[in-house]
Symmetry: C2
Amino acid sequence: MTFNDTFLKACMGRPVEYTPVWLMRQAGRYLPQYQRVRTNLSFLELCKNPELCVEVTLQPIDYLGVDAAILFSDILIPLEAMGLALEFHEGRGPVLPEPIHGKAALDRLIVPDPRETMGFVLKTIELLRRELSVPLIGFAGAPFTCATYSIEGGSSKVFWETKKMMFAAPELFHAIMAKITQTTISYLRAQAEAGAQALQLFDSWAGILAPGDYRHYALPYVEQIFTQLRDCAVPLIYFINNGATLLNQCESIAAQVIGVDWRVNIGEAARLVSPKVVQGNLDPAALLLPEPQLRTRLEALLADAEQATGHIFNLGHGVNHFTPPEKAKLVVDLVHQLSAQPDHH
Amino acid sequence: MTFNDTFLKACMGRPVEYTPVWLMRQAGRYLPQYQRVRTNLSFLELCKNPELCVEVTLQPIDYLGVDAAILFSDILIPLEAMGLALEFHEGRGPVLPEPIHGKAALDRLIVPDPRETMGFVLKTIELLRRELSVPLIGFAGAPFTCATYSIEGGSSKVFWETKKMMFAAPELFHAIMAKITQTTISYLRAQAEAGAQALQLFDSWAGILAPGDYRHYALPYVEQIFTQLRDCAVPLIYFINNGATLLNQCESIAAQVIGVDWRVNIGEAARLVSPKVVQGNLDPAALLLPEPQLRTRLEALLADAEQATGHIFNLGHGVNHFTPPEKAKLVVDLVHQLSAQPDHH
C-alpha cells in the first residue's frame, strides 16, 4: 500500500494536490461500528485496550477516506496518570471526584513516566503504525484545558473554580499548570517516539479566558510544550477552541499548524496566524445541510482558506454524536473533489 | 432626589463626568437580600409579582451605587406568553417541556399582546419609575437566543436541534424567528411606553453561530427589531455574548450601544463597532481578584475603552451567584473613582 503523505506536506506548508482532510472525533459514537465495540465496554476500558483502540481508530479511515488518523484516546488520560481519580458516566461526561482545591491535592499530583502509566497509549500507536497508510496524529489536552478539569472536577459552564484559583490563589494555579505541562511534554514525546507522525494539543477551554488572562495564565505553558517538542521532528498542531480573539498571540508558539473552531472565518484566522498553516473549520452541524448547500459552503470555505500558507480541512469541533455517517463521508469527498479543481490552486 | 442621567448621556455618546456603571444581573442570587425574597417563592412567581420585582430591582441600586437599574425579569417570559410552557428547576435552569420541532408547534405559537399577557412586567416598570433616581433599562432576549430555548427545550451545549432546523428545515426556523421578532418588537415598545428609559436586547447565544450563519439566520431579525424601535426615542443596546467575530456586522443595527463579553479587548470591540458606544466588559470572575490587581485591571480596561465613542462599564456577563457582594460594590466604586480622574478625559 502507498503511504499518503498529503497531510504531512500540508502541515509543513508544502504544495499539495488537494486539501487534506481529517475530522476531529472521526472515530466515535456517530459510527455504528464504534457503538458495537462499545456495547459491553465502558469508555475508559476501551481507552485502555490497545487492540480495540486500534480497531476504532481504523474504523473511519477507509470508510471516510480521510488523509490522517488520530489516535483513539481521551485528553484526561494523563490526569489519571498524575493520580487524579477519573470516571466517565454515560451521557454526563467526565467526572473527577477529587478535584484540586488546595496545596495538599497539588502535592499529591505526580509527574508520571508515560511508559509506566500510559503504556497502553504507546502500544496503540505502535500497533496502528503497522496498519495505517495515512499519517497517525498523537495528541494531548493543553495545560489550561486539563487544569480546568482537575480544578472543576469535570465539565463546567462558567469555570468559576478555575478562575477563582487563577485570581485568588495564582501560585497554586501556576503550580498545577507546571506539573501538567511537564507531564504533557513527556507524554507527547513518548507518543512521537512510539510512532506518532504529528502531535496535536487540544485547547478546548482556553476560549473562556480574556485575552490578557490567556497571555498570562495559559499561553506560556503552550509555548513551553511546543518549544520542548521541536526536536521530535514531527508537525505540531495547536487547536484552540472558541479562540478567535486569542489567535493574534499564536506567533510565539512553535507549532506549524493552528486549528480553529467555526466561529471565525478561516481566511481571517489565516491572516491572524500567518505564516502558520490553518486547520479547520466547518461547523459540525453544517453536515446537516442538504448536499447542494453543503457544497456551496465548502467552496466558500476553501476559497477563503486560499489566503493561508497551507490549509488542512477539518471541522471546527468534533463530529457530533448525531451526525449521519454518510454526511461525514460526503464532506470528505466534496473537499477532496473541490480542492483538486485547478482553480483552487 | 436628583435624577442621574450619566448613563443616558453615555448611551448617546455625549460627554460624561465619569464612566457610568451597571452590572448585568446586578439584582440576583449573589445578594442575601434577594435570597430572602426568594425564600418562599419560585423564580417564576417572583417574575410575575410586580411589587417584589420592584423590590429586587431596587436592592442593588443604593448598595452598589450603579448608574442604571435594569428591570428584574427573564428573557423567557415572552416565550411563555407566546404559548410555550415554561418551568424553572432550581440549579438546572429553564425547561420548556414542549419545544418546537415541527409545523404544528409553530402554528400553535401566538404573537401576544404584551398588555394582556405580560402586564406584570409593564406594571413593574410603572412602579419602578416612581422610585428610581437612575434610568431604568427594559429588556428582551434576541430572537436567535429565544429561538434556541424554544427549539432545544432549555439550555444546550451544542445547540444541535437549533442548527438541525436551521440547516435542514430553514423555512420552519425562519417562521419561528419571525414570530419571536414580532413579539419582541411589541413587548419592547410596550416597555418603553410603560416608562423604560433604555432597551437592551440580550443575544446570549448568537456566539455559537459562524459569521455567515449569523448574517443569514440571526442578524436580519435583530436589525428589524432595532429599526422598528427607533421611534421609541430611548437608547437601544444590543448585547452580544461571545460575539467577537460578529461585531463587524453590527453597523447595520440601529442601536446606539453594543455590549460585549470579556473575551474581546474593549478597545478592539470599540474599533469594530465605531461609531457606536461600547458597553462592557470585565470577566465576572475577575471580581475575585485582590483589590490592587482589580484596580490595575480596571485602569487598563478604562484606558483601552478611551478609543470608543463612549463607554458604559459593565461586566462581560451577568454577576455570578458566588460573587461576594462587597466585591461587586468595590468594582463600581473603583470605576467611578478611576474614570473621574482628569487623565481619563
